[in-house]
Amino acid sequence: MTKNFLVDTAVLLGRSLSHITRSLDTILTTVITPIAMMLMFVYVFGGAIQTGSDSYVNYLLPGILLITVASGISYTAFRLFLDMKSGIFERFQSMPIARSSVLWAHVLTSLVANLISLVVVVLVALLMGFRSGAGVSAWLAVVGILILFTLALTWLAVIPGLTAKSVDGASAFSYPLIFLPFLSSAFVPTDTMPGPVRAFAENQPVTSIVNALRALYTEQPVGTDIWIALAWCVGILVVAYVFATITYRRKIS
């Protein structure tokens, strides 16, 4: 059965990857909002924001990357929803295949699509003056955290993808996730925020993830942020995975 699982997942992954390569607009619409935000914050607001770092684009990038993932995963929910609606999901489930491979193919597709989007956003940031002298190991750590974050949000996206009644319902859940970075250290340091807002900002997952990413590519000590960031990512991943799997079992039995 494990051999089937790998073969079936690979076949279905090929299928949903061709959905992405044949409709590149999904990548385009994923990256357009983060890039527009990056342009606006760097060239309009950035001059007035005191971050204590020389280059605002360097300060801003981690938050923008998280927004990219948050907007990218709404397509994961959307694609899953379409499969559920169109009946192709039922066809797969009535075939002699490893049943969980249907879900895993979507999850891996989400990972690939988001990594492409992240690369596009980083390239734009480089054009806008983003620079880093960090070494390979620091960058591997950055990529690792982003992959973990993407997987966590992808499994979260699986739940509305399986349960939504309409297309809007399937993708609307990502809006709050896109705005979460605004209430964090992603755009401005948290010290200037009033008490309760600051307390929320400093204790929500985005701040620790943003701080860890920023510290890694600016060659600063990562401190405890990286462990808090990893704990958040793994925690969300595990909880989302469990709930998504329960939802899936209910759907197919």
């Binding site: 079936d8 061709s18 066809r91 009535s94």
Partner: protein
């Protein structure tokens, strides 16, 4: 009869919350025959098909397909069947050929490309094979859908309302495909709300009403249950369908 039957359903019950959809359904389908499950919307036809294709669990009763129990031997049942659901379950973004290859790969068959080519030819889709399915007409989509169900030659095929939403030509195409299937020894369980469809295709017809099979027999047997035939002389007017097909068929030929 039971030794020959490839689908065996007994005392099947299913409720959605408080709504009792199936209240004890029994029927048998003989190998190589076309069996039509007839019923109005909401009669529970799709529920029966979903239970038989292991997508749904019954609350009570037993169902067997090709000698395997749908509840305890689901994997074996899935090896034996193909489901063509109410909506054409095709991938819009892939081409027709790629859809068939996808199913062949998922069934772990050798030479998926060859299988896809053969099925495209059999369903007159060779020319459209390389095109994206989103460009197909309703009839072409349905034919591809049925072709996808034939990959790997499963002995039993479920067709859930295969002609709903099709134009008259598309309907005739699907009917032709179903007849060919049964001709090759495949057992077909077909649900429909169109009486003429059951009349045209089925060896046996069962009527599902209020959660039970109220009648089950051949067309001739069913006709005997009705008041005896009256002899009337009526001028045979062409139906609108005859007119439509004559006109469209003629125009189609001229263009070719």
């Amino acid at each position: 009869m039971t030794t020959q039957s490839v689908i065996h359903v007994q005392g099947l019950e299913k409720s959605y919350k408080t709504l009792k959809v199936l209240r004890g359904v029994d029927f048998d389908v003989a190998r190589g025959s076309i069996f039509a499950l007839l019923g109005s919307n909401g009669a529970g036809k799709t529920t029966v098909v979903k239970i038989l294709s292991t997508l749904l669990k019954a609350d009570a009763g037993t169902a067997g397909v090709n000698g395997f129990d749908v509840a305890t031997q689901a994997a074996n049942v899935r090896e034996s069947i193909s489901l063509t659901g109410q909506f054409a379950a095709v991938d819009e973004i892939l081409s027709g050929w790629e859809n068939l290859v996808l199913v062949a790969r998922l069934r772990h068959l050798k030479g998926p490309g060859k299988i896809a080519d053969d099925l495209l030819a059999r369903f007159s889709l060779t020319e459209a094979g390389a095109r994206r399915v989103s460009t197909y007409s309703g009839g072409m989509r349905r034919r591809l859908d049925i072709a996808m169900s034939l990959v790997g030659n499963p002995p039993v095929i479920f067709l859930d309302e295969p002609t709903t939403g099709l134009d008259p030509e598309g309907r005739l195409e699907v009917w032709q495909a179903v007849r060919e299937l049964a001709g090759k020894g495949t057992t077909v369980l077909l649900t429909t709300q169109y009486l003429d469809e059951a009349e045209q295709l089925a060896d046996r017809i069962a009527i599902l009403h209020e959660g039970r099979i109220i009648v089950n027999g051949t067309l001739a047997e069913l006709k005997q249950m009705l008041p005896p035939a009256k002899l009337e002389y009526v001028e045979k007017q062409p139906t609108l369908e005859d007119v439509f097909l004559a006109l469209v068929g003629a125009a189609g030929k001229e263009q070719r």
